[in-house]
């Protein structure tokens, strides 16, 4: 009986593989996981690490704004851009007061490019843009 059970669970393990999406090398480590919806921000933040210098501060936002995604992307920003100062536009699914991130030197914007440029464009990628923000007045 235990051997039969082990065989059944082994079959279930094989069935759990993402056969339909393929087993090829993914673009991100979450591409086929339950967190796959984070893949666009994941890709952009990895690329943003090349244009946001050490010790600079940045905020990650989404277009359209979404407090849950912005919470998750803030955390991904902390993970993928060590040595920079990530400031949250949202925390635990709630937008933070704008003062929390007003001083951010860079804006990582996941999604559509805004109509009005929020500063100098430093990266234009399929998943979004990165801007060096104008100094707050």
């Amino acid at each position: 009986m235990p051997l039969l059970g082990a065989a059944l669970l082994t079959a279930l393990a094989l069935w759990s593989l993402p056969w339909r999406e393929g087993l090829g090398r993914p673009r991100t480590l979450v591409d086929r996981s339950t967190a796959r919806q984070l893949a666009p921000g994941y890709r952009l933040l990895i690329r943003a690490a090349a244009v946001i210098p050490e010790k600079a501060s940045f905020v990650t936002r989404t277009e359209p704004p979404d407090p849950n995604f912005e919470t998750w992307y803030f955390r991904l920003g902390v993970a993928f851009l060590p040595g920079r100062r990530a400031l949250p536009a949202s925390d635990f699914g709630r937008f933070t007061p704008p003062g929390t991130w007003r001083e951010a030197e860079y804006l990582v914007l996941i999604g559509a490019r805004p109509n009005e440029a929020p500063g100098e464009l430093v990266l234009d990628a399929p998943d979004g843009t990165v801007w060096r923000r104008r100094s707050p007045s």
Binding site: M1, P2, L3, G5, A6, A7, L8, L9, T10, L12, A13, L14, S16, L17, P18, E21, G22, L23, G24, R25, P26, T28, L29, V30, D31, R32, S33, T34, A35, L38, W72, R75, L76, V78, A79, F80, P82, G83, A86, L87, P88, D91, F92
Partner: protein
């Protein structure tokens, strides 16, 4: 290349534990089993030394930390006299061979899933990885980083093993490797598949040991893939807990040598995740009750099983208190302030969460196998009692949230109840008869 260097550093773990496991007292274990037990002991001792270094304001450097931990392993083994018994040589039967093949397929499935980006835990990016990365940059536990209010989701109080070992790999490799961190899931599952049958051979015939191991590995593979545990603390926790339980189920678990290693592995579990402490306390308490020793013997056994955990968490909480970083394990509510209005909802939500993971099969199949094995032996009360205690612990824990805990349970229960599945799978391997649980006058022979 970074991933290879990062993973290559993990080879140091068995090397650190080897001065203990290489002693003649452990000659009864097969070389591969000894190497895997050495890895667990090495990870525990390295974490303990990392914590002591942090407490003493000493920077984390790979060589001094590893040498100190290896010396500690050597010193711990010096008083060990009793030996682990050598099981009777037994031919590798067809069932054992098939079980080994099933385990290998499960490990390959876990590897393929991880490499395909289908098993990654998002918690790796939220806190396990960032902490390790930051600790490596700071060459120690980065207090400013953890105390920053913007990082309050990092769980500063979480025990230090995963972030500490990952930080050490990062220091050696030069940078953190996210891919390598996720690969710890199939690697540790593979280590269990390779090492567990050898440990269980001290409790059961070769066939039962191999089949029980395969059942446990298969269940963990399915849940691990579906609940996305690659890169988080769940697989390290399971690695320690599984091997510790298998050691305690052995017929020679009366011996000091086996108890010492089991105690170190329980400490590894307690240093991997918060619930590892509940597991260590439950397993040690049930072991002591079942063994019915005299007072002095019980105290010695309790010391071997729990002193490593006490030392590990004592050092960690001393660090937290002296740096005013944390004082206890509380985040989701004040300890013992229970919200009994959710008393019924918690088990319902837990059952729903389990049913949604592989249609509940990875939880049901080991349970059905247990029922099919007939009335459990007295020795089986150790894994079964520990499983029961764990379920009660999580029920108790979930009751601390002041709001409806259903969502919390939905994303955490399938993972955190994995040790229960493993215990159900191992229970039929417990030795039958009183010999396994009765008091013996001294260390076990062999």
């Amino acid at each position: 290349m970074t991933a290879l260097a990062w993973l290559g550093t993990l080879i140091v773990l068995p090397a650190v534990g080897a001065p203990l496991l290489a002693r003649p007292a452990f000659g009864g274990f097969a070389p591969v089993t000894r190497a895997i037990l050495s890895g667990g002991v090495g990870a525990t001792l390295l974490t303990f030394v990392l914590t002591l270094f942090a407490l003493a304001h000493l920077p984390w450097r790979a060589a001094p930390v590893a040498v100190t931990a290896a010396l500690l392993a050597w010193a711990l083994g010096a008083p060990v006299r009793a030996t682990a018994a050598s099981p009777e040589p037994e031919r590798l039967g067809r069932a054992a061979l098939l079980a080994a093949c099933l385990s290998a397929v499960c490990v390959l499935a876990a590897l393929a899933s991880t490499l395909a980006g289908a098993a990654t835990s998002v918690d790796l990016f939220y806190f396990w990885g960032p902490k390790a990365q930051q600790f490596a940059l700071a060459r120690g536990v980065d207090i400013a980083f953890l105390a920053d209010p913007l990082h309050d989701y990092m769980h500063a109080y979480y025990p230090p093993l995963v972030a500490g070992i990952d930080a050490l790999s990062t220091i050696v490799a030069g940078r953190f490797s996210w891919t390598a961190a996720t690969l710890t899931f199939p690697i540790l599952l593979g280590a269990l598949a390779a090492g567990l049958p050898g440990v269980l051979r001290g409790a059961a015939p070769r066939r039962s040991a191999a089949v029980g191991s395969a059942l446990a590995v298969a269940a963990l593979a399915v849940i691990g893939i579906r609940a996305n545990i690659a890169g988080n603390g769940d697989m390290p926790l399971l690695f320690f807990e599984t091997l510790a339980m298998a050691l305690l189920m052995r017929r020679d678990s009366e011996g000091a040598a086996v108890q010492l290693v089991a105690g170190l592995l329980l400490a590894g579990g307690a240093a991997a995740k918060v619930e590892g402490l509940a597991y260590a306390l439950a397993a040690a308490a049930i072991f002591l009750v079942l063994r019915r020793r005299n007072a002095a013997g019980s105290i010695r056994t309790a010391a071997r099983l729990l002193l490593p955990t006490a030392a590990m968490l004592g050092a960690w909480f001393a660090f937290g208190l002296t740096r005013q970083l944390f004082r206890d394990y509380s985040e989701y509510g004040r300890f013992f302030v229970l919200h009994l209005e959710f008393l019924r909802r918690v088990p319902t939500a837990m059952a729903t969460a389990l049913a949604g993971t592989g249609r509940g099969l990875p939880y049901l199949v080991p349970l059905l196998c247990l029922f099919a094995a007939g009335r459990p032996s007295r020795a089986a009360l150790l894994p079964l009692g520990t499983a029961f205690a764990l379920v009660l612990f999580f029920w108790f824990t979930y009751l601390h949230l002041s709001t409806d805990p259903s969502e919390w349970i939905a994303w955490s229960a399938p993972r955190v109840l994995m040790p229960v599945v493993m215990l159900l799978a191992l229970a039929p391997c417990a030795p039958a008869g009183e010999a396994a649980t009765r008091d013996t006058s001294g260390p076990s022979p062999g």
